[in-house]
Amino acid sequence: MYNFEFVKPSTVAEAVAALASEDAQALGGGQTLIPTMKQRLASPAKLVSLTGIEEMKEIDSDGKVLTIGGGVTHAEVAAGGYGAISELAGNIGDPAVRNRGTIGGSLANNDPSADYPAAVLASNATIVTNNRTIAADDYFEGMFSTALMDGEIIISVQFPVPEAANYQKFEQPASRFALVGVFVAKYPDGVRVAVTGASEGGVFRWTAAEEALSASFSPDALDGLSLDAEGMIEDLHGSPAYRAHLVKVLTARAVAAA
């Protein structure tokens, strides 16, 4: 890892100012960025730690909207008892990763096999940054790519509280990332289904399943549907056809468990 200047501001405004300099990068829990820097795939001149910013560490729920600060760790969300989102957070990586890794870091990174993107997209959540709000449908732009601009910080994420929701993760046993993960969320105006781990394009909505489940929220509603294997990830852990098959199996399980 190349050396860098380290700064740890205590407010969002100071962090935004520090990130304005060339080659500066935000540091969340470091669970992705530090390994990446060790491999010299990233070499920022300045790291701006977000871990000292109290206003990014709050969780708040009024029963309608669950707001999770961008600096909240997976362990804190897991311990909060927020239904499917807490269960999802409690199965990210391992305990030590969960004690450092944050929701903001996970969403900024947008790994195609990460868990949180599925929850955010299925919940139609809103990403709040230092200068705007971004709807989930506009936020994810493909593998490791998002609508965030250089130096933009995720301050919090607002999840509308669903009537019912569930996340099913088929773990890749070595990395514990999702080989395929499906988040199903039911709202008064319809059902949303988001899939991670499967597509070359990163997290996506399975709209055919959403329509079927909005008409009838039961696993049988998926009978007759199938997902095209075209564009699914191919690697040594699974073929595109296998992943496409898993999406349907996991969607049915999520509906049954929601």
Partner: protein
């Protein structure tokens, strides 16, 4: 160079570090606390597990400067004040929870993290909590037994 101050196993320490100095490097190279092992250095194996403000973290995946002002506990802090093995360490010895011992510091710190929040874990809970700690020798079975025995003794 920036300076860093923290409490390690109850002792106040200060050192000069680079931005890139990892907590695991600071503990081993500067403080000479070489009980914290570096296995993979890629966040996978858990040999470097230590506690920061009471929570288990991978020392190889946290900057030393991020631990400024923190309370850190390492395997050296798990022994009794007279130097004899602490309860969890003794249980590993008694129940054959180690062979080469390379993973053991991380296993003991992860087990202590579990038992701090769950005094009476099931076998499944123990296995789940140790998911981030890899052992090439034991097959895990006796590690689980060791943690169960330590839990029973700590009651």
């Amino acid at each position: 160079m920036p300076s860093v101050t923290m409490t390690v196993n109850g002792r106040a320490v200060t050192g000069e570090v680079e931005g890139r100095t990892l907590l695991s490097q600071f503990l081993r190279d500067d403080l000479k606390l070489t009980g914290t092992h570096i296995g993979c250095d890629t966040s996978q194996c858990g040999a470097c597990t230590v506690h920061v403000n009471g929570a288990a973290v991978k020392g190889c995946t946290m900057l030393a400067l991020e631990a400024d002002g923190a309370e850190v506990k390492t395997i050296e802090g798990m022994a009794n004040p007279d130097g004899s093995l602490g309860v969890i360490q003794a249980a590993f010895q008694e129940h054959h929870g180690l062979q080469c011992g390379f993973c053991t510091p991380g296993m003991v710190m992860a087990a202590a993290d579990l038992l701090a929040g769950n005094a009476n874990p099931t076998e499944a809970e123990i296995r789940k909590h140790l998911e981030g700690n890899i052992c090439r020798c034991t097959g895990y079975h006796n590690i689980v037994k060791s943690v169960q025995a330590a839990a029973a003794q700590l009651g």
